[in-house]
Structures are given as C-alpha cells and as structure tokens.
C-alpha cells in the first residue's frame, strides 16, 4: 500500500469510526442490517405460513344436537361413512381415502355462506374420517370460473376440486380445465347413487358422453306465497266479484300479474301483491326472463343460430314482467335477492319466487344459525305456502363439483367429491341451516329427517321435486355469461323505460355477436347437445319426457 492508499484507507476508517461513534448508520452497518432483515424475511415466510396454517386449520366438525333432525342426519352420514353399507359410495370413498393419508385438498367455493359447509362440517368430518385435510379457497362467483382457467393456463395445480356452474361444464371440459370422472366412478362408486339424482339434474355433468363432475345444488326457483292472504274471505269474495273466478295461487303469468295487482290494490301499503329481484346484476332478470320466455314457447335460436329473442314470445314475456313490476312493492326494480327476502320475511309481500333458501328462511330455520343473522327473522313463519312457479320454473345456476385436471391428488379429490355428494352426506349438508346447498336427490326430497325440520318442510320438499319435474335449465353452453348479461341489460333498461321491442332487438344483436365470436358452427353443436337435456325447453321437461318423480 502506498502513502496515498494508506491515507485514503485511514480517512475512510476514521469516517466510519466517527459515524459509528455518533450512532449513525454506516455502509457496513447498513449492509449488516440489510442482511439481517433479508434473513429474517426468509425465515418469517415459512414461520408465518405455519402459524397461519395452524390458526386456519380445520377445527372439529360442528355437529348439531343429536336429538334434532339435523343431528340425526349428521350421525347417519357418519355411520354410513364408517360402518357402511359396504357398497355405499360414502363408505367406499372413506375406505379408499384412508390409504392416501396426508393429502391436503384445495377446493374452491363461493365466498361467504357457501364456504361454511366445507369449513365447519364436511371438511373437518372428512379429515376426521380419512386423515386428509381440506383447504377451502373462497372466490367470488365470476372468479369461480376465471381463476381455475387462469391457474390451468399457468399449470399451477393450485386447485383439486372446483365448484362450478353446470353451464360452465362444456367450456371447462373442452379447455382441459376439468377431468372426466368415468374411470374413478367405475372403480369406486355405487352406480345406484346416480339413480338417486332427480332426472333434471342427473345429466347435467355429462358432456360428450363423459361425466365431468357430480351435481351438488338443486337451485330450483319456486313460488312462495302467503297462505293467509289467499285464504282471506273478504279478498276471495272481492276477487270473485271482480274477475268472476276464485282467488287462487296463479298458474299462468297473466294470472300472476292480475292477482298481484289485485292484492296490491286491496292491501297496499301494508302488503303488496308481489316482489322481484330486478336490480341490474342481482341476477334475477335473466332467470325470470328465461323461464317466462320458454313458458311462452320462445326459442333461443333458429336453425342458423340466429337469436330469436325479438319474437312475439319475447314481447309477451316483457309485457308480463312489466305488468308484474307495476303490481309489486315500491322499489321492486331496485331490489336484489337479499332485499327481496327481507321484504317477504317482514310480511310486506304476498308472493315471491326465488331460490330454495326462501322456504327455510320463511320458516325461521336458517336464522337458527348466527351465520345468517343478516337476514331478518321471519314474521310470516307458518303462513307460507309453496307452489310451482307459473308455467315452468328456472333451475337458476346450481353447482357441480368437478375435478381439476391439474390436481396433484386427483384420486383423493375424486374420493372427497364422491363422499360429499353421496346420499347420506349430501342430505346432512343440504340440511345445514346456514347452507345454500339445496335438495337435489330423490332421497333428499323423501327424507323424513329433512321433512321434520319445520312443520311444513315435507310440503316444501314435495314442491321442490314438483318444480324440478317441470323445471327449465340455464343455457348449458359456452358464452352463457355473455348471453345472460345481455338479458340482464335488456330487462333493466326496459324497467327504466326503454321500448321492449327495441331492447329485445339490441339483446338479440348482442347474442348474435357472442355466437359469432365463439363460432357459429361450434355454438350450433353445443346448442344441439343442450337441447337434448331434459329441461331445455317447456316441451322437453322431465315431466314431458315421462320421467317425472311423484312423491
């Protein structure tokens, strides 16, 4: 080292010593601390991960009082899983899954109430039975489609089990996002369980001759009405005098609007004839239009896949819906599904049609769990009757469980799906007060335990089964989101004053654009497949095909 280098070294050393004495950070101390922080970060990742995993770990299954119907159904599910019958799907799934211990299944669920079942009941019970853990990934409804697709493109294998709309099955199957179950079914399942599905739902996961999931949520629309209002002698008398026919629960959409208007005229502002969830995106508009349009014998597409919305059936449908809106509670067009439930439960509305939880809430069964405390207690328990929606009711959305094609544990994932949707376990799941899973198996509709949940529960189950007999399916084909969005926009613009014919033409043009975007020939083939399903049109329902289930 020459003199210059020595002087520089000493000056640097002195400077470092000075700043150290002053307590200021030096380059050395900075690098040291930076290294320490980096090390801490590296360590804290796994540490925090293990702490959070421990905190979020499944607790023991929340079981109801064993003397209650729910408790008995849960005990029966447990017994079927552990003791058999040996050829039962639940038992066989558990026995097979025990050999795959240590697997953690990542399963998607809609965020909120839907996810409570796997968090509080089915997930912990599966772990207790098999030693296999479950990790519930809560997603918004649109993300239940987009995230699995994105993860599939990335090849991440992030999910094992997907909760999907049946309408998404063709897209996800063709896109390679989900895997067929046929081989596993042949190996593990009791085929008799298929015959336990209501015929409307049985074929939903089947596409191009393969089975792509297990149907898991019977989202049948049904009509819920105030029995006391329809039994009111004064009202019956007045209605008879005015219309020359008895006051009855409506069976046609014209009658529905007429009865609703009559009740509103007679009883408002204490009670209004009807209410609907018509807010944009709520998503009542598209489901209501789809069911009424087909009840009016409307066809979605012609032979060239041109949209047929702007037809006499379309006009008639919108006119009926407008008439019903006028007869409804003020703010009808601003309501979403939850607001409508609130209005009905508070006794402000005589008739609504909605998803099956309506019946459970009206009887105050759902509200027995704190998870549903955002829904008001029912003031009309015991006064609610159940009927089939005029014409044909919509099976609005529903859910299937599908196996993610990129799952690292496909067999374990399949076994959970088989177990969770098996007759005894699915019954217990649909009976959970906070569950939004609705009956879909014949054994659910016939269940004495479910029928004992509240005084009128048996009638409720019979009505859901009858609704499924004449029920209509959403469009099970690619582009469903686009087609549905166009309908929602069309309806809400008509409620705001747009000309119905012009709105129908706009929606039809949007449908044609969607069809062209996805390929006319390809969509034509999908539509042809869809048309084969029971419930694709009013003259092709389960009942029309001679497969109706009578309880």
């Amino acid at each position: 080292m020459n003199d210059r280098e020595r002087r520089e070294f000493e000056a640097g050393l002195a400077a470092e010593v000075d700043v150290w004495l002053r307590g200021e950070p030096t380059r050395r101390s900075f690098i040291k601390r930076f290294g320490q922080m980096t090390g801490m970060l590296a360590v804290s990742g796994p540490l925090l991960g293990s702490i959070s995993r421990s905190a979020l770990a499944q607790a023991a299954a929340q079981l109801a009082d064993p003397t209650t119907p729910l408790g008995q159904a849960q005990a029966a599910a447990l017994k079927a899983s552990t003791e058999g019958p040996a050829d039962g799907s639940a038992y066989r799934a558990v026995q097979a899954a025990k050999k795959l211990q240590g697997v953690t299944l990542n399963m998607t669920y809609e965020a909120g109430l839907q996810a409570l079942d796997p968090r509080h009941f089915s997930g912990p019970m599966w772990e207790q039975l098999t030693g296999n853990k479950s990790n519930v990934v809560e997603l918004s409804h649109p993300d239940q489609y987009s995230k699995p697709v994105a993860e599939h493109i990335a090849g991440s294998g992030a999910y094992d089990i997907l909760d999907i709309e049946p309408a998404w099955t063709p897209s996800l199957a063709d896109g390679g996002v989900i895997a067929p179950l046929d081989d596993y079914i042949a190996q593990y399942m009791n085929k008799a369980d298929f015959d336990d599905y209501h015929p409307l739902f049985k074929a939903l996961p089947t596409y191009k001759g393969k089975i792509w999931g297990f149907f898991d949520d019977g989202d049948m629309f049904a009509l819920y009405y105030r029995k006391d209002v329809f039994a009111d002698p004064k009202l019956k008398d007045a209605y008879g005098k005015k219309f020359g026919k008895p006051l009855e629960v409506p069976k046609t959409w014209e009658d529905y609007a007429q009865v609703a208007q009559f009740i509103t005229d007679q009883m408002a502002p204490d009670l209004y004839g009807a209410g609907h969830f018509r807010k944009a995106g709520s998503p009542g508009n598209q489901f209501d239009f789809l069911q009424q349009f087909r009840a009016n014998r409307g066809e979605f597409f012609d032979g060239d896949m041109k949209a047929q919305l702007a037809s006499p059936a379309g006009i008639k449908t919108l006119e009926n819906m407008i008439a019903a809106n006028k007869a409804s509670i003020p703010g009808n067009n601003e309501l979403d599904a939850v607001s409508l439930w609130a209005a009905f439960l508070q006794g402000k509305v005589a008739m609504i049609y909605s998803w099956p939880p309506t019946g459970r809430m009206a009887a105050n069964y759902s509200q027995s769990d704190t998870a549903i405390n955002f829904i008001p207690r029912s003031s009309i328990a015991g006064k609610v009757g159940y009927a089939v929606v005029p014409g044909n009711p919509e099976h609005a959305t529903g859910y299937s469980k599908a196996l993610a094609a990129d799952s690292a544990n496909p067999e374990a994932a399949y076994l959970f799906m088989q177990w969770a949707t098996s007759p005894p376990v699915s019954l217990a799941r649909t009976m959970l007060p906070y569950a939004l899973r609705d009956p879909y198996r014949l054994s659910h509709y016939k269940s004495e335990l479910y029928g004992a949940l509240w005084p009128d529960a048996k009638e409720y189950l019979v009505n859901l089964c009858n609704s499924a007999n004449v029920g209509l399916l959403d469009m099970i084909m690619p582009g469903w989101q686009d087609y549905a969005l166009s309908l929602d926009r069309m309806c809400s613009s008509v409620w705001a004053g747009a000309d119905p014919k012009a709105a129908l033409e706009t929606a039809a043009a949007e449908w044609d654009q969607t069809t062209e975007r996805l390929g006319v020939d390809s969509q034509k083939a999908f539509y042809a497949e869809y048309r084969k399903l029971p419930g694709s049109s009013a003259d092709h329902t389960v009942e029309a095909l001679g497969m109706a289930v009578k309880l």
Partner: protein, 313 residues
C-alpha cells in the same frame, strides 16, 4: 504523523488488491446498488405486467376460446366499435367533471369557512374529513341503504319536507341515478379538496390582506385579487389529483346501480371490469384498458403542462 508502532497495514497481495478494488468499486456504485432492489421490484410488479398486458391486447386471450392466436388490432377495434364502450367513456367524462367541479366548489367554501379559528373548529374538521377514511364500497352501500326503495328513508324524509309523497327511483331512474352517484362521490371526496385547499389558504401571508385592508379593499375583492391567485396552483393540483382518481370511478357504481339500468351507469372502469371479469374477454378488456390509459395520459399531460405553466418561474 503516523508512528512506526501503528498497526500492520494490509498486505499488498493480489487477493487484498482484489478486495480493495471491489471496495473502491462498491464505494463508487453503492448508491446504485441501493436502488437495485427497488428497481427489480418495479420491473417485476409494474413493467412486466404492463408488457404482458400489451401482448395480451394483440392476441386472443379469451377464457372461452382456446389458444392465444395473434389477432393484430382486432381487440382494439372491438372496443372502439362497441357503443357501450363509447357511452361509458362519455359518462366517465361527464361524471368526473361534475364530481370535481362540485367538490372543488364545496371544498373551497368549507376551507374558507374553516380558515379562521373558532371554538370547536378541530372537532368540526375531524368530522368533515371522516368520509375520506371510508372505503368507497362502504360509501356505496351506505348510500344504497339511504336511497334504495322501499327501505331507504330518503323519499320519506323528502315527502315530509315537501308535504307530498315522493317516489323517486334514485338507483334506477334517470336523471336521479346520476345525481345519486354524484352525491355519493361528492360526500366522500369533498373533504379531500377541503384539506388541500385549507393548506393552501393558511399558507397565504397575512400581510397581503393587511395591506389590502389599508388600501380599502373589500372582502370580495380581496378574495378575487389575493386569495384566488395565491391558491390557484394548489387548486390546479387538487383538481388534477381528484380528476385522476374520479375517472376511475367503479366501486360506488358496482354497489349502487350494478351498471344499470341497462348500461346507463357504465363508466369506463365498469365497462372494462364487465368485459374482463364477467364476460372473460380478457384481451378485449386489456385493449380497452390501453386505450383508456392513453386517453388519460393525454389528459394528464395537458393538465400537468398547465400546472407547470401556472407555477411562477
């Protein structure tokens, strides 16, 4: 002077030389080393996604159509030819302009009222700025609860005031739904203007007003000739900041109107969200986002240029 008993100096062996030269290099470039992590972070979280989105906008990236074929400008053309996209852009401009103008006026009025000290001023100011800390989603939900029929109390209260029944559909009928959206936005963001303008007002030297008072200048003239010119740069700054935020209006619309009725309350952000995450046409949504970004950049460029000009040399 250094004594002979000083500690032994580092040897001049090649390894030490290497260390010394590294030390010298690190001394010279240490500042750059410090910014490397930040640069890497920006590149990975900002530049890469931006470049990826550019690629997405030129290919098919639709969750319903397999493959990523190059489609040229088709995605951009689809956005430009979509009447909903054009209407949403116009609504974005109108709503943003209305929001910013009203918030600026109210914010200035509040700032002028609060610039002088009075008992309880601190408490009033604290209450005034509370909306700023509330999530826009909660703001949207709160206003929905107030306005939505049949549960919201607004129509009832208006009926009591006016002496007759009020049946306004605040969330479904034009022009009321636009007014409702503006009210919600103004309620939340006027405090932002207020805080910035109050800071500007308190920074005006009091001697200017004292001199003006000696010259017999009245209150209005003082405001016009002293206050306004003095706070003009900060007014521009506040307006630009707020405008840049207002054009992204999404949350309250998502909650209050769901974009409806029809597509009447689609703003550009809501349109892009719908195309991308309801219909899953990601490439079209990305192309739309790029168009929107370019338009916003032009606007920002113009406003910043104006702001820089407004600043004294």
């Amino acid at each position: 002077m250094m004594s002979d008993a000083s500690p032994a100096l580092p040897s001049t062996r090649p390894r030490s030389r290497l260390r010394a030269s590294f030390s010298e290099w690190s001394d010279r470039h240490f500042r750059w080393l410090l910014v490397v992590p930040a640069v890497l972070l920006i590149l990975s979280l900002s530049i890469y996604p931006l470049a990826f989105s550019l690629w997405v906008s030129f290919v098919n990236y639709d969750f319903q159509i397999p493959g990523h074929a190059f489609v040229g400008l088709k995605n951009f053309a689809m956005v430009i030819s979509d009447p909903v996209a054009r209407r949403s852009l116009i609504l974005t401009v109108l709503l943003s302009a209305a929001d910013v103008v009203i918030e600026l006026g109210l914010g200035l009025a509040l700032a002028l009222a609060m610039v002088r000290r009075f008992p309880g001023r601190g408490l009033v100011m604290s209450i005034l700025i509370v909306p700023l800390f509330i999530s826009p989603v909660i703001v949207g939900q709160a206003w929905t609860l107030l306005l939505q029929r049949p549960f919201g109390p607004t129509n009832y209260l208006l009926g009591q005031l006016l002496g007759h029944e009020v049946t306004i559909g605040w969330l479904t009928e034009a022009p009321w739904l636009y007014i409702a959206l503006i009210i919600a936005d103004v309620w939340q963001w006027t405090p932002f203007m207020f805080v910035i303008l109050l800071a500007g007002l308190t920074a005006i030297p009091p001697n200017l007003y004292e001199a003006a008072e000696l010259d017999g200048v009245g209150g209005w003239q003082a405001f016009r000739l002293i206050t306004l010119p003095q706070i003009a740069p900060i007014v521009s700054l506040a307006a630009i900041f707020r405008l840049l935020d207002a054009v992204r209006l999404f949350d309250t619309i998502f909650i209050m109107t769901g974009g409806g009725p029809g597509t009447r309350t689609y703003t550009s952000s809501y349109y892009l969200y719908t195309v991308g995450f309801t219909q899953f046409h990601l490439s079209q949504a990305t192309a739309g986002a790029w168009i929107f970004l370019i338009l916003i950049s032009v606007l920002v460029g113009l406003l910043v240029k104006r702001l820089v000009k407004a600043e004294p040399a």
